[in-house]
Symmetry: C2
Subunit: 418 residues, 2 copies
Amino acid sequence: MSQPNTPHGFFTIISRPRFEELLRQFPPLESEQCGLSESSGRVLTEDLIAEHDWPLLDRSCMDGFAVNARDAFGASETNPAYLECTATLSIDVVPDTPLGPGECARIPTGGVLPEGADAVIMIEHTGEMDGTTIEVRKSAAPGENVMLRGEDARQGQIALARGTVMRPQEIGLAAALGFQEMALGRRPRVGIVSTGDELVGVRQMPRPGQVRDVNSHTVAALVAQAGGIPVHYGLVRDELESLTEALTKAVAETDVVLLSGGSSIGVRDLTVAALEELGDSAILAHGVALSPGKPTILGRASGKPAIGLPGQVTSALVVMHVLILPLLRHLQGDRNAFDTTLRPVLQAELARNVASKPGREDYVRIRLEPRAGALPLAHPVLGKSGLLRTMLQAHGLATIPAESEGLDQGRLIDVWIV
Amino acid sequence: MSQPNTPHGFFTIISRPRFEELLRQFPPLESEQCGLSESSGRVLTEDLIAEHDWPLLDRSCMDGFAVNARDAFGASETNPAYLECTATLSIDVVPDTPLGPGECARIPTGGVLPEGADAVIMIEHTGEMDGTTIEVRKSAAPGENVMLRGEDARQGQIALARGTVMRPQEIGLAAALGFQEMALGRRPRVGIVSTGDELVGVRQMPRPGQVRDVNSHTVAALVAQAGGIPVHYGLVRDELESLTEALTKAVAETDVVLLSGGSSIGVRDLTVAALEELGDSAILAHGVALSPGKPTILGRASGKPAIGLPGQVTSALVVMHVLILPLLRHLQGDRNAFDTTLRPVLQAELARNVASKPGREDYVRIRLEPRAGALPLAHPVLGKSGLLRTMLQAHGLATIPAESEGLDQGRLIDVWIV
């Protein structure tokens, strides 16, 4: 009788949603004070309270004439109103004379409305009779063509709330209100430890049996995409002592540790053993039910995430996109970090059937073929996850849910561009 | 009789596609030699020729036994094959002994196949009889579970072609092949000149009539998003001499000049006049048929794009997204910079009718309301383009084509997340 050879070391394989739940339990990093120009894409961790209204005053949206809407009531091409122009306003001066009944003032776009004015008539709907009389050929509702004081932000109220992601428009409002600095979620430092007896650096010519390290470069590029700061801990041999030493240093110096090692059972066992060697550590999962990417080890050391990435390059890329980049956004305070419904996609028509094993989520690499007047065709790119080829040829990923046995040709799918 | 008041200075208003055509005529910037770690998101401007195959040798995808497929032909659970295990291979050593007929070798994931082996049987489909005899319960096709030498790249052939955008996977292949540096399209330096007598910097408290400059902050954040390097030329008064001086300096020192000024006719005329003052300059367009964003001035100075952005904050943001970010990608060598069919979107159902003036492309700000089990509802956010409010409240933009009179409630639309 033969003794069955079985893979070991895979004690707990959990679903992708459960894995995310565990990742979400790591608390966001503390805040740091940052200048406005460093805020792009980051998350506000304090409420910004407006110290004054914005706009500061009622300003004109148009070149034209500031009026009191009552004075132009009912004005039309056939029944114009005639108003007395008493001032020509500059953009940077607050008018000091109020508008009297029957009066108007020439105003540029952005100019401040005089007291007594509540609307602006576009210059196109006016005519000049003589030096001072203006023919108004259109009526205006109160507030028409006027940016009202406080429409964007009101003094004493929250202009930008804690948790807001700073897009260019939020940066604009912060600038308008005079915020030169603000508290933002700190960018995580991400330690990258590559293990493998066969690995050499990019500068070296591999001897027979050796290969250049790939994953630390792909992983670093991805970390930066999510706002993280990659910190390299070099290439470590597949032995417990060296690995534990590198991990200890990385855990002490960074906020998240990513181990990129081989995919063999021996190396995975070694990763688990090294994580267990660390003080105050726990293994939370020995795998995740997604493909490619199953042999992903989730650990916690000194309260920080320590993750063993799959060794196969494509598996590591998929796990980074699906799980680790959202983690890095979450650690910066992004409340929607794991929300895939907010992820923009390209719709495409699946060019052929794709089978999938139920019980795990599949991430199929998709090559898009543009078509005139129709959605692009989505070609699944099949191949070994140890190779880069499928990711190089693909434009993005399509998800096959865990409960599905596959997707049929002709079906519309969402392609996540990566 | 009245003299009609008409806006002037708008001589040539062109369509968005025509504007893009003019932008595309600016040639991409020259290349620069960059390190691998600086390449992310940038465009390769040389072919990278593989100096060796990748993978370098045939390697196993699995933990298991390297075999010659012939020796396991027809093997199954009920009819296993029995092979002699003659070696236990390490990941970093090239086996020096060829596999003889009827022999196999224990191999880890990533291990190099010995001569004579052409497939790997997964460890799960094997059993151990005694110290050396292995029971094989599954057949394997030649090449099965093997990453073949040269599958990702072949010696002497183009591994990554000129024009490729360097994603993490391309960075991985470049690392695998030993490219520490490569020629990439240079990142454009983008001069930002803000004009306006009413403007003060973010650090200043505006006096009555003044406002803090908003656009140079939003524009700088957007420039950086597209890989450009923002260079600020400060706040310039609305007068020809100061503006011409700032522009001359910016044109000399940067690759693209963006003027962010007011939206009044006077300021637009001044912008045109200042651009015309520059040596070797031409005005290519006085406006573009999109809304918001019409008063966009396209000039060329010393062969470089010099663009007068609309002064209204929302108009400037839309023009940056629609025209200027693609220009910055184009200048870096991205051949698909203007291809909107490659732009990921969120599908949503329009919550109410939106009217549009035919003859111009409309960019409607959209707020998304998530719904369980259905596409999100898309609420148009209407409001004045001089305010930030609509962009702050929106998740993205929906395009209404120039020929359309609007979109009907209930229609599915693509929302471009910005």
